[in-house]
Amino acid sequence: MIEVKFIEHSGEVHEVTAESGASLMQAALNNSVPGIDADCGGGCACGTCHVIVSPEWIDKVGSPNETEAIMLQMTPEGCERSRLSCQLQLNDELNGLVVELPEFQM
C-alpha cells in the first residue's frame, strides 16, 4: 500500500492509502478527500483534479505530459509544481507523497 498526504488549502490534512497502480485522483475519490472534483472522471480533459506537488517530491513525481500541461494552463492557480492527479500513477517510489490542493478547482 502507498501512503499519500493531501493538504487542503485551509491546511487540513488527509492521510490516505492506495494500491500501487491507482491514480492519485482515484486515491482521493476513494477516500472522499474534498477538493478533487474530477469532472471528467479521469480523462485529463477537465482540469478539476489539480494538485500542487510538495517541493521535496517534485523530482520523483516528474513533469506533466503534453495534454496535461495544456489543461493545467487553464487553471489560474497553476504553478511549476502543478499536476493533474488523474495522470499521476502511484507506485512504491511515491510512498509518502505529499501534495497540496489549490484553493479552487476550475
Binding site: 474530477a38 480533459a45 487553464m74 479552487f104
Partner: protein, 424 residues
C-alpha cells in the same frame, strides 16, 4: 422573422418510421417542438456515428454517444475547432474570429487573457453582489398571478451578471441579451429565425458600443486610473490581446463569444431548472427537504438541460471513429444533448435526480482545451438562484406550455409562464 414559422409548426414524424439514413438531427424543429429525445435515442442505438450527406448545413457526421463525444472533444489535434464551432458556416460578410473557434497556440493566448475574470477566486468576491441582485429580482415578483419567468427572472439575472463582468453600463444591459440572442440565431448557423439586415445592424451596434467602452477604459488607464478587473480591462492589460481593437474580426468575435457564453447558457439552465422541478415534483420535494443538495442539483440540471446542444469540429485527417471512416475535411458534430442522455453511461438519463451520483460528470461544458471557461460562474448563479428560491417560495408552478427556441444550437426557452406561491 417569420420566414420559417410554417416549418416550425409542421408535425414531425415518428423517428422509427423514417429510414435511418434520412434522420436529420440538425432540424431546428426537433428542438422547438421538443421531439429530439426519440430521434437521438434511435441514432444512439442503431447508428451512433451517423452520416447525413445532405442538409441545409451541408453534409455532416453526428456523434451521439457519450464516449465517442469524449474521444472527439479531447482530440484537438485531429478535430479542429476552426473555422467555426456551430454546425453552419458564418456569413462571409460578417468577419468573426474567436478563441472557441481557434486551435492552439492562438486559442491558448486569447483564452488565458480573459479567464481570470471568471476564475473561482474572483467569483467568490462577487457572490454577495450576485445574491443581493437575485434577491432584488425575487422580491419584486408578483405572487398569485402568472408572469413570464424567462423575461422577468432568467434574462434579467444573466444580463445583470454580464453587465457586471464587462463593467458595461448597467442601464443598457438589455442590449447584451439582444446581441447575444441575435448572434446565434442566423438561419445559416443554427436554423434560427434572425433576418440578415437586423443581425448585421445589431452586431455593428455591438462592435461600436464595445469599441467606445474599450477606448474609455484605455483613456482611464492612460490618465493613471487603476485598471479594472472586467473582461475589457483584462484584454487591454494582456500583451497578446492589448491591440485586439485593431483586429476587428477578433474583437467582434471574442466579445460576441463572451456574451453568448454567459448569456443563454445560464439563462436557459435557470428556466430549465424551474421546468424540471415541475416535471419531477418528487425531486423538488427532496430538494426542499434538503437544501444541501442544491450544488448537486445544479450539475444535474446543467446535464439535463444541455443549454448548448452541439459543438462542431472539422477532421484534419482521416480518422476511424467507432467503426466509421471519417475523411479529412468532414464536418463532425458532437451532440452534447445526446451524450448527456446516453443510457450506456448515465442511468435513467431522462430523469432529473437531484441527488444523482457523479452528477458533475456530464458533457454540457465540453471537455479538453475548449471546456467552458465560465462553468463555475454559471454554476454559482444557478446555486444562488436556488438557495434564494428555497428561502422564499413554496413553489413555482409552470402554468402554460413553455415556448422553446427554434435552433439546433441554443437549447432553451423563449418564454415560460409561471405562478409563484410565497412561503409566508
Amino acid at each position: 422573422m417569420t420566414s420559417q414559422s410554417d416549418r416550425q409548426k409542421e408535425t414531425l414524424p415518428d423517428p422509427y418510421e423514417l429510414p435511418l439514413e434520412a434522420i436529420d438531427l440538425s432540424d431546428p424543429a426537433l428542438y422547438s417542438q421538443n421531439r429530439w429525445q426519440d430521434y437521438f435515442k434511435r441514432v444512439r442505438d442503431e447508428d451512433p456515428v451517423h452520416y447525413l450527406p445532405e442538409s441545409p448545413f451541408g453534409p455532416f457526421w453526428s456523434v451521439t454517444r457519450f464516449e465517442d463525444i469524449v474521444a472527439v472533444d479531447t482530440n484537438h489535434e485531429v478535430f479542429s475547432s476552426e473555422p467555426f464551432i456551430m454546425i453552419g458556416d458564418p456569413d462571409a460578410d460578417i468577419p468573426l474570429e474567436n478563441f472557441i473557434s481557434m486551435d492552439p497556440p492562438k486559442h491558448d493566448e486569447q483564452r488565458n487573457a480573459v479567464q481570470a475574470v471568471v476564475a473561482p477566486r474572483n467569483l467568490a468576491s462577487m457572490e454577495d453582489l450576485i445574491r443581493s441582485r437575485i434577491s432584488e429580482i425575487f422580491d419584486q415578483l408578483p405572487t398569485g398571478e402568472s408572469f413570464d419567468w424567462v423575461s422577468s427572472v432568467s434574462k434579467e439575472l444573466t444580463s445583470q451578471m454580464l453587465a457586471t463582468i464587462f463593467d458595461f453600463p448597467y442601464e443598457d444591459r438589455h442590449k447584451l441579451v439582444y446581441w447575444s440572442d441575435i448572434a446565434t440565431s442566423a438561419p445559416e448557423l443554427s436554423g434560427g429565425n434572425a433576418c440578415k439586415e437586423e443581425r448585421f445592424a445589431a452586431l455593428q451596434d455591438m462592435v461600436e458600443t464595445f469599441a467606445r467602452l474599450w477606448h474609455q477604459k484605455a483613456a482611464h488607464r492612460e490618465k493613471g486610473g487603476a485598471p479594472g478587473f472586467d473582461m475589457i480591462s483584462l484584454l487591454e492589460a494582456n500583451e497578446d490581446t492589448r491591440d485586439m481593437i485593431n483586429r476587428p474580426a477578433e474583437f467582434m468575435g471574442n466579445l460576441g463569444l463572451l456574451i453568448v457564453g454567459g448569456n443563454d447558457t445560464t439563462r436557459n439552465s435557470i428556466s430549465g431548472s424551474v421546468l424540471a422541478m415541475n416535471e419531477f415534483p418528487e425531486e423538488f420535494a427532496k430538494l426542499k427537504a434538503n437544501p444541501q443538495l442544491v450544488p448537486n442539483m445544479v450539475s444535474e440540471i446543467i446535464r439535463w438541460q444541455t443549454p448548448l446542444a452541439h459543438m462542431r469540429r472539422v477532421a484534419k485527417c482521416d480518422y476511424e471513429l467507432n467503426g466509421k471512416q471519417i475523411r479529412k475535411g468532414d464536418k463532425v458534430v458532437m451532440w452534447y444533448i445526446s451524450g448527456n442522455r446516453d443510457e450506456r453511461i448515465i442511468e435513467n438519463p431522462d430523469q432529473v435526480i437531484v441527488d444523482r451520483q457523479r452528477a458533475r460528470q456530464h458533457l454540457s461544458f465540453g471537455l479538453g482545451i475548449h471546456r467552458c471557461m465560465g462553468n463555475r460562474l454559471g454554476e454559482m448563479q444557478l446555486r444562488i438562484t436556488w438557495e434564494e428560491i428555497l428561502k422564499r417560495f413554496e413553489s413555482i408552478d409552470v402554468v402554460g406550455k413553455p415556448v422553446r427556441v427554434h435552433s439546433n444550437f441554443v437549447h432553451g426557452y423563449e418564454s415560460m409562464m409561471v405562478k409563484i406561491k410565497s412561503k409566508h
